[in-house]
């Protein structure tokens, strides 16, 4: 049985003190232990940005990929070895800016992976430019007169593109964060968890205090049914996205399950493979 120690590494993250990403790091490690996953059975694939560095801080099979492309890499890992527990992680710029295309398609494709976005509404690694989730009017280094554009709504994006598990968490509430990541990992299909993970250096608007004051907990809301997609769209509007908890959950066939019979079986991982006569005939029958 694995312990937290197995997942930890002797490397000091390069995040600023107080960064929300520390909580996400701790939550991933805790969830893995709670779910009894061995480190070698987990793959953590991340994008580029402050948050993308997370894959280097967990002792699992990890890859720090390209800006915006982590989701594609993560889907490839999972499809090639369905036994692995695959988490993909990145930031709001990575996932909703340069990588938005893959986010939408991962939702509809429904490969069984968990996508965690550390949403701080700013580009932190490049020192403070506006991001796709920066509120309109927010002053940043690249919007000194206030952000002229409307932010994207990742939750409604996920709903619209068919994600089968959607939740939102806050770095200031580790307990709920761990619970949501665990639920996401247990969910069969594509799970998306948007985490408000404040940037203490470059975002002075959307701070810990701001979130503590404004967030409501959907998990405690009476009468809310996460299986109801219409209700989910409405609650995002009603709360202006200021909530935590499971927004939507509805299991459907994963990509591996909907592929033609035979796809994604054990033969996929078979290290050695002899080309026998039967296989040879299958290969050449159409060409003779």
């Amino acid at each position: 049985m694995s312990t937290l120690k197995d997942y930890r590494m002797d490397i000091k993250p390069n995040w600023c003190p107080g960064c929300g990403d520390f909580s996400v790091l701790a939550a991933i490690q805790k969830s893995a232990v709670n779910l009894n996953i061995e480190p070698e059975d987990m793959a953590l694939i991340s994008g580029i940005g402050c948050s993308g560095r997370i894959s280097g801080y967990v002792n699992v099979y990890s890859m720090h990929t390209m800006h915006g492309r982590a989701l594609a890499v993560a889907q490839g890992v999972k499809l090639a070895n369905p036994d692995l527990h695959v988490i993909c992680a990145g930031g709001d710029g990575d996932g909703f800016g340069i990588g938005l295309n893959h986010f939408a398609h991962a939702g509809r494709r429904n490969v069984d992976i968990t996508y965690i976005v550390m949403d701080n509404q700013i580009y932190g690694l490049t020192k403070g430019q506006m991001s796709p989730t920066s509120p309109q009017g927010m002053e940043t280094k690249s919007s000194p007169g206030g952000n002229p554009e409307q932010p994207i709504n990742p939750l409604q994006m996920a709903l619209a593109s068919g994600s089968s598990f959607i939740a939102q968490a806050f770095s200031g509430d580790l307990k709920q964060l761990v619970s949501l990541i665990e639920q996401g990992m247990k969910h069969k299909g594509f799970s998306f968890i948007n985490v408000f993970s404040p940037c203490v250096t470059f975002n002075k608007i959307l701070t810990y205090e701001f979130f503590k004051k404004n967030l409501v907990n959907l998990d405690e809301r009476e009468g809310y049914e996460p299986s109801n997609r219409g209700m989910a769209f409405n609650i995002v509007e009603e709360t202006s996205s200021m909530f935590t908890g499971v927004l939507y959950k509805n299991e459907r066939k994963t990509l591996t399950e909907s592929q033609p019979k035979g796809s994604g079986t054990d033969m996929l991982r078979q290290g050695q493979f002899e080309l026998n006569e039967n296989m040879k005939d299958k290969l050449i029958s159409r060409f003779i």
């Binding site: 280097g56 492309r69 493979f273 060409f287 003779i288």
Partner: protein
């Protein structure tokens, strides 16, 4: 005759494909060597297309002939396009219904033009659509093939449409056959073939069976001409082999998924053409930096930008050689025939895993889409070399929490662990990293890591890195990819004329086999580098590697058409 060429032309949807399929299947079984190319003419309105089939009794052929012996014309465009290519003593059969006989061009001397009742005879059997089988019957009669050998294949071809239709098609074939026999026309018989049963397939199909035979179990791709056929064939065939194929949302995703699958331990690939290669550049850099095997097929077509999507070019060489920012190790293999394409895939997967870097298959439109005869797949020629992998036992012995995935070694290749292996966990990042894979900006480490990555590929070889034929004392012809067929026949023609010509076809484009080529260049009086691009990309590579390159001349063709042997003969005649 020892060889002849048949062209069947008409509008798309007139059943040209079925004629080609049946004809080539029977001829393949008889042991003939074949080369077929489907032309889609954009110059002609109405969707004209034709299938140009060259048949040889003994000699292997890798290019279409420049003369046509039998032309079957379902439309007027076929006649206009081919009348000047008709051989002496050749025959044009045109449909009496769909081609008006007034206003036809005058047939050159020796060329017989016959009004053939393709549609009429088919209509007598109840359906004009079977005119293609009537035409097939006429072709067979002209070639003196026995009709019975075609019956079975025709029946098989149409069986899915029911017994009755299948039988009617055989009758249509018989009607065509009888028409020619009754006319008592001259025949163009072929000398019986000397070879045994062969496969007949396109380069794209060859790469698919090569990949599957070599254990490729994951592919992600995005539709693009002329590589889509690879994706489609993979989707059809992969489930039987237990693997997964994904049509991704774009090429950025296809290549990234392939990298992910490879990281997970599966042999994986992607296939694309020029625009896709442009989009994949960043990921190619990642594969080089994190030392993950990756096989990429580039079926080159006319560029730049959208260029000429359905036309021939070999202009991505520079992109494959130098694409992505920064410097990475890479291997580029160039198949020149369909036969080579099968086994080159095997080599590509082996080298990708052995050297842990991206491997390109530099195919081109003509190689990908032409159909050629190839020896039947030989399982004994398929080898599995999975490179340096660490066993679970070795890892247990080390018993360390973090594996040194990027350890410095004598041959610069580090043993690899894959997810699922206990004590094999490690980090892989495109940031410069130390031996465990974690980021570091240490200057000494940076230097050692760069040297490790760049030097490891120096030992790469295909065995035959350059395909050399002929003496080449007077004239050495250098090329890569599908131009092999045209260059080879130009060489043969020179040798007949007493010119000592030879060819050096580059099979390993990177790392470049400079020493071997330099020796060949030194021995030749004249050296021509022949390629389908404007700047002479291969010639420039050669000049980079070979100090004395004063002899080298470029023959470039970039109008979208492949080289014909006569293009090369004409260019060289003025020199020799």
């Amino acid at each position: 005759m020892e060889e002849l060429t048949i062209v069947i032309g008409g509008e798309q949807g007139e059943g040209i494909e079925s004629v080609g399929e049946i004809l080539t299947k029977v001829l393949s079984q008889m042991g003939f060597s074949l080369y077929g190319f489907r032309n889609f003419s954009s110059r002609i309105k109405g969707g004209h297309s034709d299938f140009n089939l060259r048949i040889s009794s003994g000699k292997e052929i890798y290019v279409n002939a420049e003369k046509v012996n039998i032309l079957v014309a379902f439309d007027r465009a076929s006649i206009d396009l081919y009348i000047n290519q008709m051989d002496k003593n050749s025959i044009i059969l045109y449909d009496s219904k769909s081609v008006k006989s007034d206003n036809l061009p005058i047939a050159p001397k020796g060329v017989i033009m016959i009004e053939a009742p393709f549609q009429e005879l088919a209509s007598e059997l109840g359906s004009p659509i079977m005119k293609n089988m009537v035409a097939l019957g006429m072709i067979c009669a002209l070639n003196n093939h026995s009709a019975s050998s075609f019956h079975k294949v025709i029946q098989e071809q149409f069986l899915k449409k029911g017994m009755k239709i299948s039988q009617l098609n055989v009758e249509a074939f018989e009607k065509g056959y009888a028409f020619i026999k009754e006319k008592n026309l001259f025949s163009i018989p072929l000398v019986p073939a000397i070879n045994s049963n062969k496969m007949f397939l396109s380069g794209n199909e060859a790469m698919v069976i090569g990949a599957l035979a070599s254990g490729c179990r994951f592919m992600a791709g995005y539709p693009i001409t002329p590589a889509s056929e690879i994706l489609e064939n993979m989707i059809n065939m992969m489930p039987e082999f237990g693997g997964v194929v994904v049509q991704a949302e774009d090429e950025l995703s296809s290549v990234a998924m392939s990298i992910g699958a490879s990281f997970a331990g599966t042999r994986s690939m992607t296939a694309t053409s020029g625009p896709g290669i442009s989009l994949m550049q960043e990921a190619i850099g990642l594969s080089g930096a994190i030392e993950i095997p990756l096989v990429i097929i580039d079926t080159q077509r006319g560029g730049p930008s959208s260029g000429l999507a359905t036309k021939m070019e070999q202009s991505d060489l520079t992109a494959m050689l130098g694409g992505t920012h920064g410097e990475i190790p890479r291997i580029i293999i160039s198949p020149s025939t369909v036969q080579e394409a099968i086994y080159d895939m095997n080599t590509a997967f082996n080298l990708a895993e052995k050297y842990q870097c991206p491997v390109f298959i530099a195919a081109d439109l003509v190689l990908s889409t032409s159909k050629q005869s190839a020896e039947i797949l030989d399982p004994l020629r398929i080898e599995m070399e999975r490179g340096k992998r660490v066993s679970d036992e070795e890892l247990a012995e080390q018993g360390k929490a973090l594996y040194d995935r990027f350890a410095f070694t004598d041959d610069h290749i580090s043993p690899r662990t894959i997810p699922g292996q206990k004590f094999g966990t490690h980090h892989a990042t495109g940031i410069e990293h130390g031996q465990t894979g974690h980021p570091t900006e240490d200057y000494e480490n940076r230097k050692k890591m760069m040297i490790k990555r760049m030097k490891k590929i120096e030992t790469v070889t295909l065995g035959e890195d350059i395909k050399a034929e002929g003496e080449g004392e007077d004239l050495l012809l250098i090329g890569f990819g599908s131009t092999y067929g045209a260059i080879r026949e130009a060489c043969e023609a020179f040798n007949k004329d007493g010119i000592k010509a030879g060819l050096a076809h580059i099979r390993l484009l990177h790392p470049f086999p400079a020493d071997q080529l330099e020796g060949m260049i030194n021995k030749a009086r004249q050296v021509i580098v022949i390629e389908n691009n404007y700047t002479g990309q291969l010639a420039d590579v050669i000049k980079q590697h070979i100090p004395d390159h004063s002899k080298i001349q470029k023959l470039s063709k970039f109008d979208g058409r492949p080289f014909a042997p006569s293009d090369i003969r004409k260019f060289c005649k003025e020199l020799v």
